[in-house]
């Protein structure tokens, strides 16, 4: 195809055109003014010759040329944006909305065959190129996003350099995160303004499924241990499902035990949604998994969104510690002073200062500053409010603690921390052997043996003790050296999974050395057994003086920190490499902290009552740096991964996998929003069956060859101008104007 047009000669700047036009207009103006003042005949001749003279003079300056262009016609660019949110995995018409959307994208490519179609997927952020065949085969967690943010995708498109699309087609169910359902016409119009192109929409689903779901869960403020937290839960009902009253329950998923019911309520649905508020209190800090579920009525077609598992990062205002001691000693003094010196610890202490056998030489208890040991109150009503319990040399039988040991064991299983500190009345000597509490201690107790030994000894570090971050503070000050302790409790073998940090150099348990300091996991909690009553020697002794008594604080910082899962005292850090979506492959990233060496082992279990591991793997001497561990395809639920590097104590990481999560919380498509969006931008909203109705934008002409030739040579224009001026001069003379 050839196109022709007039243009100025090459090298003549546009400003020349304006200058010539201005001068010609002024000259013509003067001529007209002169002719108007003069009365009589012959004015027309003057005007014609003057005008011609000016025109030829202008042409001789501008030298007009004829420009010919040869070009081709190409299809307009059309961008098809396909929703890539996880929400599109919702079922629709026997398939998923995603299958329908990808099929629609394929159909659109055919419909716009005359145009240049660019297929892109959008989720959060800018849209990315999409290959339909690949997307249909194996969607991975990375392919799908939690939400569909069309606003960001369109804004990113508008800022791309190069050719602008002539039309945009959005394929979705319309339930965008942005633009929201409350966006007005002006906001929707704004989306297409920068692109200067119509936005057409194709609704992949138009009918709401019969579904009762948890639409949203909101909390106010930070989640702090022991402090009440309100969950505002919106329950929705759609597709004509009859919902009425729907029970709602919040449970905490815990390791090794049944989920703990935190709160429950009933949502009374008058319209298509209702809100219920549940007050919960999480007692333990760290990552806590809370499952919120509804009992959906019969006919619910999407059971996956009847349950959400939220991970709360629970912080502590202060660490609440219960310190109970059977008698006052220098060891009790040292521990109390350390606990009191730490402003982050809220200490509740009870020491037994008098026994029934003591003779206080008083006639009235009012002479004594003693209060009854509130054992029942402490170990029933108040027990869950403590983050850690320290039992120091206290006889469980004498002080009526024995009847509360099942509750104390449950407390540990449910996430509490326990430290049993040695002394004549600790462990077997305090009636703990064969008690429920024994099962949560990291060591077995030997009830039929002497409960303690009086021989002085210096404990020995185990390999785990040397590498455990929990003892780094002490080893940095004293290396492998420890003070002499006056006797030791009789402890049994370490339980499976427990770690011994100090052992007795002479006393034996079976073939191995007797543990002196051991750490263990028990259900959701942790426990520590310390079989000596003399760690105050790290605070006040000739030995302690070498480090100005700092080793005591270092030891207890580590023990309490480990008990409370302080990351500083873990050998590893675990995190999900990406979102964990049920039914899709998931993986964990494992980072070893400095000093953690050796083989890495990982065990994956479901949160809840004890069950066989879902996965066990061991990596022999892995290379330094982060490791990515494949977990395979997991079902929806809470999981606990325990990883260990070398001999160091294991690190636990709890996480949740959801099928749809927040993406599936509202299963209703929103074709109305798609229609409003199309209308605001001058586009068209259609269903999948109406794709053929979408207008195909006109093709573009692209120039391939251009030539330019002057209409006349410059001298011809000049000659014509001279002749015209001559004629004009002659006419003036005839009219007597010269």
């Amino acid at each position: 195809m050839i196109l022709a047009a007039l243009a100025l000669a090459e090298g003549v700047p546009p400003v020349t055109l304006w200058a010539v036009a201005l001068l010609s207009a002024v000259s013509l103006g003067f001529l007209l003014l002169e002719l108007r003042r003069r009365e009589g005949k012959g004015g027309r001749g003057l005007l014609v010759t003057g005008g011609l003279a000016l025109a030829f003079l202008a042409a001789s300056v501008l030298r007009p040329a004829r420009v010919s262009t040869r070009g081709v016609s190409v299809g307009a660019q059309v961008v098809v944006l396909v929703d890539q949110s996880r929400r599109l995995l919702l079922p629709s018409d026997g398939q998923t909305r995603r299958d329908l959307a990808l099929g629609t994208a394929r159909d659109l490519a055919k419909h716009f065959a005359a145009a240049r179609v660019s297929l892109r997927g959008f989720g959060a952020g800018e849209a990315k190129p999409l290959l339909v065949e690949d997307a249909l085969k194996h969607p991975t967690a990375a392919d799908l996003s939690d939400e569909s943010d069309l606003t960001s995708a369109l804004n990113a498109l508008a800022q791309e350099p190069g050719e602008r699309p002539k039309a945009i087609v959005v394929v979705s169910d319309g339930r965008f995160a942005r633009p929201t359902e409350h966006a007005d016409e002006a906001a929707l119009r704004e989306l297409s303004t920068a692109l200067d192109a119509p936005i057409h929409t194709v609704a992949v689903s138009e009918r709401a499924p019969r579904d009762a779901s948890i639409r949203s869960i909101r909390t106010s403020g930070a989640t702090v241990a022991h402090q009440p937290l309100a969950l505002t839960i919106e329950i929705g009902c759609s597709g004509g499902l009859s919902c009425g009253e729907i029970p709602v329950t919040a449970r905490e998923l815990r390791h090794g035990v049944e989920p703990f019911v935190l709160a429950s309520g009933v949502a009374k649905l008058a319209g298509d949604s209702a809100t219920v508020e549940l007050g919960i209190t999480l007692e333990r800090a760290g990552a806590r998994l809370v499952e919120v579920s509804i009992d959906a009525p019969e006919g619910d077609t999407i059971p996956e969104n009847n349950r959400r598992i939220l991970t709360f990062s629970v912080t502590r205002d202060r660490l609440r510690v219960l310190h109970v001691a059977g008698r006052p000693t220098y060891d009790v003094r040292a521990l109390r002073m350390w606990l009191k010196s730490d402003e982050s610890i809220d200490l509740v202490a009870f020491f037994i200062l008098r026994t029934d056998q003591d003779n206080t030489e008083t006639t009235d208890d009012a002479e004594l500053a003693l209060i009854p040991f509130p054992v029942d109150e402490l170990f029933t009503e108040h027990l869950p409010s403590f983050d850690a319990v320290i039992l120091q040399d206290i006889d469980a039988v004498t002080y009526k603690l024995a009847r509360h040991l099942p509750a104390l064991a449950n407390y540990v299983q449910s996430g509490g921390g326990l430290i049993m500190v040695g002394g004549p009345s600790a462990f077997g000597g305090g009636g703990y052997a064969r008690s429920p509490l024994e099962s949560v201690l990291p060591v077995e107790l030997r009830g039929n043996e002497q409960p303690f030994d009086t021989a002085d000894f210096v404990p020995r570090y185990t390999e785990a003790g040397r590498s455990a971050p929990v003892l780094h503070g002490v080893t940095e000050l004293f290396g492998d050296e420890l003070p002499t302790f006056s006797g030791s409790n009789t402890l049994g073998a370490a339980r499976p999974g427990s770690i011994v940090l100090w052992e007795h150099p002479e006393r034996r348990v079976g073939q191995g050395a007797m543990p002196v300091l051991a750490l263990g996991e028990a259900g959701d909690g942790r426990s520590i057994a310390l079989g000596v009553d003399g760690t105050h020697a790290l605070s006040f002794s000739e030995f302690a003086d070498r480090a100005a008594g700092r080793a005591y604080g270092a030891l207890w910082d580590g023990l309490v920190g480990w008990l409370m899962r302080d990351p500083r005292y873990e050998a590893l850090r675990l995190e999900l490499a990406g979102p964990c979506i049920a039914g899709l492959p998931a993986s964990l990233r494992l980072v070893r902290l400095p000093g953690a060496a050796g083989d890495v082992s990982l065990e994956l279990t479901r949160l809840g009552p004890k069950s066989a591991p879902l996965l066990s793997q061991r990596i022999k001497n892995p290379a330094p740096g982060p490791l990515e561990l494949e977990l395979g395809v997991l079902e929806a639920g809470g999981y606990s991964a325990a990883a260990r590097a070398g001999a160091a104590p294991p690190t636990r990481f709890d996480f949740a996998c959801e099928r749809g999560g927040a993406s599936w919380s509202d299963s209703r498509p929103d074709p109305e929003r798609l229609a409003r969006l199309a209308r605001a931008s001058g586009g068209k909203a259609v269903s999948r069956a109406e794709i053929a109705d979408l207008p195909i934008p006109s093709p573009m002409q692209v120039a391939a060859e251009r030539s330019s030739a002057p209409l006349l040579p410059a001298w011809a224009w000049t000659l014509a101008a001279a002749l015209s001026f001559g004629a004009h001069w002659y006419a003036r003379r005839r009219q007597g104007l010269l």
């Binding site: 200062l353 206080t360 004549p424 002085d456």
Partner: protein, 252 residues
């Protein structure tokens, strides 16, 4: 050696068993009222038996374990740092402490030790003033202050209204307080004299006298021991309402 611990049995053990052997299990953290030797002080004589009686009374009246024969320790010996309590008692001015003694006491107090300064001749007051002078060299930044009557020392086990010893002495206690810890307690009551034994009875009569005064002196000793073992435990909020009610009953 393995054994079954009974605290009551400890009271009946021959004293000789407790003097030499390394501490038994459970005894490592027992209260030990060691007598401090510092300066050129004269021997305490029979008053030194008051330390053993202190332990005996503590074991008899409370659940706390104690060393029944406490022994002595010199200010310039590393053994001073072995335990967090010592009694510095004397009749006369102890004179200038050596540099090693000052260093030893400084380390003891910096580690958090508690020192009881007992002037056993309060009428003269020479030991008390000499000890204050020397402790000012040990802790130049900390001056003695009068303890509030509500101080935890008066309620660690017994509810005590005022300090007494062999003599009635001043109605208040003075002490050097570092941070939140009362570390040096000054007594002008001859507490060791009230506790000292001679044969089957007490070595000294109390002045102005009476069984009640000796009982109150023993109670003060028990409270000091409990302070050393439990620090400010009785200042915990949980005890406050009980103690307020009991004090109200005692003072109609």
């Amino acid at each position: 050696m393995s054994c079954r611990f009974t605290r009551r049995a400890a009271l009946t053990l021959p004293l000789s068993l407790c003097t030499t052997r390394a501490r038994a299990f459970g005894d490592g953290g027992a209260f030990n009222p060691r007598l401090l030797r510092a300066g050129n002080q004269a021997p305490l004589g029979v008053r030194s038996s008051g330390a053993g009686r202190w332990s005996w009374e503590l074991v008899r009246r409370t659940s706390a374990p104690a060393r029944l024969v406490p022994g002595e320790v010199a200010a310039d010996q590393p053994a001073l740092q072995a335990e967090p309590f010592a009694i510095w008692a004397g009749l006369a001015d102890p004179g200038l402490l050596s540099a090693a003694e000052v260093r030893g006491l400084t380390r003891f107090l910096r580690l958090g030790g508690v020192l009881l300064v007992d002037d056993v001749n309060p009428a003269a007051g020479a030991f008390g003033s000499g000890a204050r002078r020397e402790l000012a060299r040990v802790l130049p930044e900390s001056a003695p202050v009068r303890l509030d009557p509500a101080h935890v020392l008066f309620k660690t086990f017994y509810i005590v209204d005022r300090p007494v010893g062999r003599v009635l002495g001043p109605a208040e206690l003075t002490a050097i307080v570092r941070g939140k810890n009362t570390q040096v307690i000054f007594l002008q009551h001859d507490l060791l004299g009230a506790l000292a034994r001679s044969g089957e009875g007490f070595a000294f009569e109390t002045e102005p006298g009476g069984l009640e005064q000796r009982e109150h002196a023993i109670r003060l000793a028990v409270n000091i021991a409990m302070y050393v073992l439990c620090s400010d435990y009785k200042d915990d909020q949980v005890h406050a309402p009980f103690l307020m009610r009991r004090r109200a009953r005692q003072k109609p």
